[in-house]
Structure formats: C-alpha cells, structure tokens
Amino acid sequence: MALVLENHRYDADRCIRCGGCKWVDHIYMGHPRWGVKCPSIARYLFDPYAAYGRLQLALGLMDGELEITPSFVDAVFQCQLCGACDVGCKRNLDLEIQDTLMALRQRVVDKGKGPLPGHKKAAGNIESTWNIFGSRKKERFSWMPSGIQPAAKADVLYWAGCYPAYTQSETAQATVKLLKAAGVDFAVLGESEWCCGQMLFTTGQTELALKVAQHNIDAIKASGAKTVLTSCPECLTALKVEYPKLLGKSTSDMPYQVVHLTEFMEPLVKNGAIKLNKPLPMRVTYHDPCHLSRMSEPWVQWEGTRGQYGVLQPPKQWRRGTNGVYQQPRNIMGAIPGLELVEMQRTRENAFCCGAGGGVREGLNDFALWTAQERLTEAKETAGTNTLVLACPHCKANFTDAIKKSGDNMKVYDIAELMVKALSQGKEA
C-alpha cells in the first residue's frame, strides 16, 4: 500500500512551525553552529528545505496552489528522509512527518515528475543485477574470508546487503569473523539475496520495491532462518519497516525477525560469549546512523479514523524514535579496554545524518558529500577526535567519499571492524 498524500493532510495542516523538526532538542542544544539537525535546511536555508516547509508544499499541491515545477521537485528530493524531523515533531505533537514526506515524494513520482535521473539509474542497476551498483550477481558473496564457511541452513541468516557485499566488504568480513568468534552458526542467501530496495522505497519507485520485497521475503522464508542479522541499517529498515508498511502489515506479522549486528552482539559481549579484551588506545566518536537509531522501531500497521480534536480511533502505537538502537553500540565500545568514546554535540536522536540516505547519495551526490563533511567537522570540533566509528556501511561509504574529496585526515571505522581489532588474541579468524 503506497502512501497517499491526502491521508496526511492533517499532519501537514496542523504543523505549527515550531521548528522542532529542525532544531536539536532544546534540552540538548549547544552552540548555534550545531543547533540544527536537519541537513537540508542547514544547507539550503530557504524554508521549503525544512520539514515544515515541505508540509506547506504538500498543502499547496493538494489545494492546487502549486504545481510540480523543477524547484518543487528539488525541494522534495533534497532531503535524506533521515527522520530527525519526525522524531523532533513527535516530541510534542505526534504528527507523522516522515510518512508525509514520503507520500509527497510518491505523489511527485506518480505525476511523472520524479524520481531523479540518479535514482532511475540505481533502479536500473537493481533491476538488471539485483544490486544497486550494477555489479555482478554472482560476486555478491565473493568477499567471504577463506576459512569461514557459512552453514547450508541455520537459525541465523547473515544478510549482507549491497554495500558490504560490493564496496564496504571490510564490514561484511568483520561481521562473519565476529559470528565465528562467538560460535554462532549462520547461513547466507547467496545470489538469492537481492538489494533490500531501501533506495526504491524512499524515492517512490514502488513497483520495483514491491517486487524486490516479495522476492526477499520469500527467499528468507525458504531459508528457514528465524533471525535475519544485518550489519546495514538501511537493510534493517527495509526488512523491518518498509516491507511490512508496503504490504499493509506490522513488523510482528513478518515471517522473520531482523536485528542489527550491534543488537545481536551486545548481549554476547556482556555475557562473555565474545571477548573484546585487546586494548585499543584510541579516542573515538560515534555517529548514530539514522536507520539504526531513531528510525529503527518496528512498524505497527494502523487503520482507523480521526475524530474531533484529531483524536485517533483506535489509538495508534507511535514510532517516536525512543526505542531505537542507541545504547548497544556504546556499550560494546565501552567494553573495549583503552577505547575512549567522546560524544559529538548532536547525538542519538538528534544526530546529524551522514548525508547518504533518502536517495540523496544516488540522486544528489553533492549534497550527500556536503552533509558528510559537516558531520566530520563536527566530530573534530566538538568531540576533538579524528576517528569516527559508525555502524553502517552506507554511512561509511559516504564519509569515505567525502574524505577523498576534501583530503580530510579523518579515519572512519565500522564498529564491526573495531570489534575484530579488539578480539582476544587468537580469536580472530
């Protein structure tokens, strides 16, 4: 069920322009330099580039006051769908901002005015090779380190995802080494694992998204695995949120449970099943990936009506970002001897996106790189470190490109890589 803009009229119309969608939560507010958490308004400054502005565009479109011009399309797509606005708004008002922004994109696409050429190219890659890069299908798991043999069948299915499979293979390799070190049997889907389709969902390419979703759900089902484990938060969101949303179901109705590596590993670190004993004398900061943190709560399908005062019948279970994966990666890093974690000014649900999501990396790469550079600068200036740790290969790819472009001296690690470095001697495969 694709999102329908008219179903979000209330959300758009009841916006009060408080800016909760752009400012860092005032309780956590710091210096004005780091006061805004929405990359789009931070860069483009004019108000259509904030969530509250896009809501007015949505109203303007529904009311026939605006047409979908190139600048309308620009305002709609220059946004990472990072969810900072959604969580910010729900601190006070429970308006469904993320879904409204997605419905607006869907409308632009349905009217034939989107998506952008970069999005279409990426979709073409997916359609022809089932990965976002257009790389060879059969090489999807060629990164598998020698000495590690996935099981033919296991309760745990390692979902690699396109980035770890093709460009950020160090993350995939580190992940399977960790699984081996923890004694966890895992299977993989091999060529049956297709791109998760997250970019398709966020750019309104619903038909292909549905095809991909259906294939992947069937493949997971056929594998007989109970738990899908992924090191990519974009895949996590696709499997956990976007698939059920599109199918009109709840996450709990899906035939699998999906977890991120950090959720899976944290209890194992805690109970000693995996030992991170080797000291890593480093001062690092942690970047909360949007789709692991504020956007990772399960989807709960709601159908009902809105009555007087906007009261919903039946009541809805809100996704406010409260129960995202924030603490687990921090706990894991806290267990590594010698590692000093220093927080940036904008952190957890107020984190500034890396810039890659929402099709921005594929469609508006310049904005993706600008956003990443802002975050790198924040790491240096507010956390005083040149080492950034994250838990997302998509973020890592974008930061790496930004560093390449600017010649910055920042180092970026996926948390899986750090964990492997910290494994007790002899444990690393």
Partner: protein, 523 residues
Amino acid sequence: MSLPKETIRALESIVGPQYVSEDPVVCQVYARGGYGKDIVLGRGNLKPACVVLPGSTEEVQSIVKLANRYKTPFVPVGTFWFNSCGPYRENVISIDLKRMNKIEIDDRNMYAVCEPYVIFSQLQHEAMKRGLYMMVPGGGAQVSVVNNVTGAGYSPLNYRIGGPQRRILGVEWVMPDGEILKLGSASMLKEYFWGEGPGPDLRGILRGPQGWQGGLGIFTKAAVKLYPFQPERLVPTGISPDTTLELPTKRMRRYNITYPDQPSLVKAMREVSKAEIGAAITKVPVMWRYRARSTSKEHFWELWKGAKEDLQKNTETILLVVIIGYTSEKQVEYEERVLTDIVTETGGTLRRTKQTDESWIKNADSAGMWWSAGGYISVKINVDSLDHALKSGRDAAALKKKYLEGAVDDYGDPGWFQISSFGHEGYNEFLVEFDATSDPKVSHRIDNFYVDAVKQDVKEGCYSGMQMSYGPVGITGPAYGDHHILLKEIKEMFDPGYLSNPPRPFEFDEKIERECPWVKKDW
C-alpha cells in the same frame, strides 16, 4: 505578484544571487506560520514577492534602503513563531534573518550580544557554561532572543530577574528608512554593555506596548543581560520525547504544591515573594497535570473526559516553585525551610515531584499547547498586578462558557498565572484550545472570543497586555491613554511610507473591517 527585474537584480547584488528567491515554491512557504493561522484575525495569507537571506547588518541596511527607493514593503522574518511574519500586503520582500546567528558573550560583564537568529536554548547553553543564565520565554526556547526581548519577554524565571525591559542593553537597529541607529553604550563606545547610555536610549519606543513585530524596522543585534547562576551542571538525560534536565539538587529544587482553592494559592504566592525566596513560581492549570500523565493525545482525552465531574467539584490548584541556591547550598536549605513554613501556614500540601526540568530553564513546551486539540490561541495575556491577572483570568473563564462549542472545556480553570519582580508584577495567560479542522465556524467563534476578551479587560479595568499589540488598537487605544494615536505618530515619524511590515500595528482593525463580518465592530 512580482517585483521588477531591476529590484531583484539589485537584491542579488546585495546578498548574492543564491540568497534571493522569487520562486513560487519558496514564496509559498513564507505566507503563513502556525500561531494565529486558525483564526481569521490571526493574519493575512499573502505570499511575498521574494525572499532574501541577508548575512550581515550592512546587507539588511542595503535591502531596507532599496525597499525605500522602490517603495516596496518588507517584512523581517525570525523563527516565524508569530504569524505576523506572513505578509499582509502585495509585493512584499520577506527578509529571512536565518544567516545572522552569531553570539558573543562577555562573561566578566555578564551580557550576551545576539544576532536575530540566536535562539534561547542556545543562549542558555552558552550562558550556563559560564555560570550565568537568562530566562527562557514560556512560549518557546526556539524563538529569537532579539525578537523576544524587543517584543515579549515573559517567563516564570522573571519572578527573580524581572521584566524584559530591564534586560535589553545595547541595540543595533536598522530603521524603516535604512539608517542604522545604535542604542545605549553601543552608540558611542561600540560596546553593548549598557542600555541607558552614553548615547540615545529609545528602548521605550523600541518595545512599544508589546513590540512592533517588524513594524518599526529590523533589530540586527541586541545585547541582553545575563545573571549569575549556580555552578553545578544540569545534566540533560533521556531520549525523545522524554528528555529532561536533571537538577543538581544541592543547588536547585523543584516543588509541586497543591492548594484546596485559588485564594490560598494566591496567598502563598504573595508570602513567597514577600520573603524574597525562590527563582520561579507559577500557577499551572490542572489540565497540564493530566497532560503530563498521558502517553498520547488519545490517552489524555480518556483521562480528561473522565475528570470532568471530579474537577467541577474539586477546586484544587497547583503551584510550582523552583528554588536556586545562587550563592550556596545553604541558600537552598534556608529557602526550603521558609517555603515549607509558608506552605504550612497557607494550607498547601507539598507533593513529591521529579527533580528535573523540562520546560522552564532550557526548553519551553509551548508546542504542547496545540497538542490536545490541534488548534490553540491565547485570548488573554495580561501583564499587570497579580490582582488584575487573577481577575482577568476568572473573567475569561466565565466568558469562555459562551464559546465552548468546538473548544476544549477546561472546566472553569482561570489559566496560567505567575508573578515577576518578586510579586510586583502579575501575569495571566488564558488559552483556548480548539479544533479548527472540521468546521470554519469554530474559528469564527474564536475570533469573537478574542475580541470579546479585549473588551472585557477594558470594561473591567484590567490591562490587556498582549492585545495592546496583538488586538484591535481601536478598542485598546482609547481605553489606555489614547495610545493608538501615539502609535500612529511614532509609526509615521519613523516610517511615513508604511513600508515596514505594513499595516503593523493596525492590521487587526483592518482585518475586522475587511474580512471578519462575523465580528461585530461596535467601537
């Protein structure tokens, strides 16, 4: 609606082409805001002809001079919390001040110089880092410091640090004709530490009754006084929506006191201020207790509907007090003992409360005012004595009965009231929450309520603070010293062409005349 190409090119040459837009997509979003949009009286809904983003005072000055040259009206835009940023005339230049967000703090002399896009939570963060503090307006930590001190300035923290007039120091002001005027020490010494001089002090004119809201040029810098705080850190904790500041309880404590009725609560307010203890003190409507308890709007309505019978019988009211040990831990202990004695003597009950702050010190939950019904407006904001604030609140509650259809029934609660300057000033704010989405008549009723509330204050001799600036001047002017004439004279002296956010401050009168046939104009 468009400006001549020549004007646009001139604007581009001032700020750079990337900071000027006449695109309909951009202009659409500068037409209306949130507050006020649900009542017709709230504001017009015209799109500007273009939007400009200046980065410095010099650029603001050049834009205003250009506007004067071409006789083009302009509207300054801060965080757009008030709908008066939306143009009320055709072919307006909207001047979005977002790029001007520099802040400089002189901690030795305890003041901060802010550009218009520095907001309160940012100022408070920087001040607290240095052992200083400022108030944060109840209406939002997200609003511009400059706009707030020059136009409003009310907060529970005013109890100790006084009204807004006293904290404006040096000011830099681009007048409606584009000349720059510096006030106070900024005029001669180029430093902003003092408002009274040396040099001109026009702060009375600058604020008017409740600010000019863009009707008298643009403030590009203002220095505000900071006050000594206590030295311990308030620790931010929690994940949205449950984020809060943990109070360092040796130095700061919060008290939730219930009183069986309003007179005893008021007596306590007076006693507390007579004893000159406390940092903030406010009477909170009972509804907010239900809000605090509920996990969603749906949950709130379940609780609130169920509370009707009980609350109509029960006159219990809540007083919130914060104590700060500015000088020492001993100060906290001492003030707590005095407060406890006062509570005992006045018949209150101290309740357990969390030692956290969500809404006074660095945040203000004003967005929550829309939460219960989706629409909201303050029909009264009185800034007068406590007696007047109380009377005005009670009167408003009585008047509200007439306008309840489509509005939230708060079962007769007389609103928020608080005191500032140790009780020398009283403040009442009376809210009405309503659902404007289903029936336009609801908005029309609230328009009438708004106007009737002003009339009521005039009739009862209560000073209608906010409506002096946000209401029909035709009613308040003759009632309060013919100030409408004074406003007009000042306006025309500084802005004879009515270019600065026209027709400020007379748009309510114009609107009633032109667009609100449902409001009977009998003045």
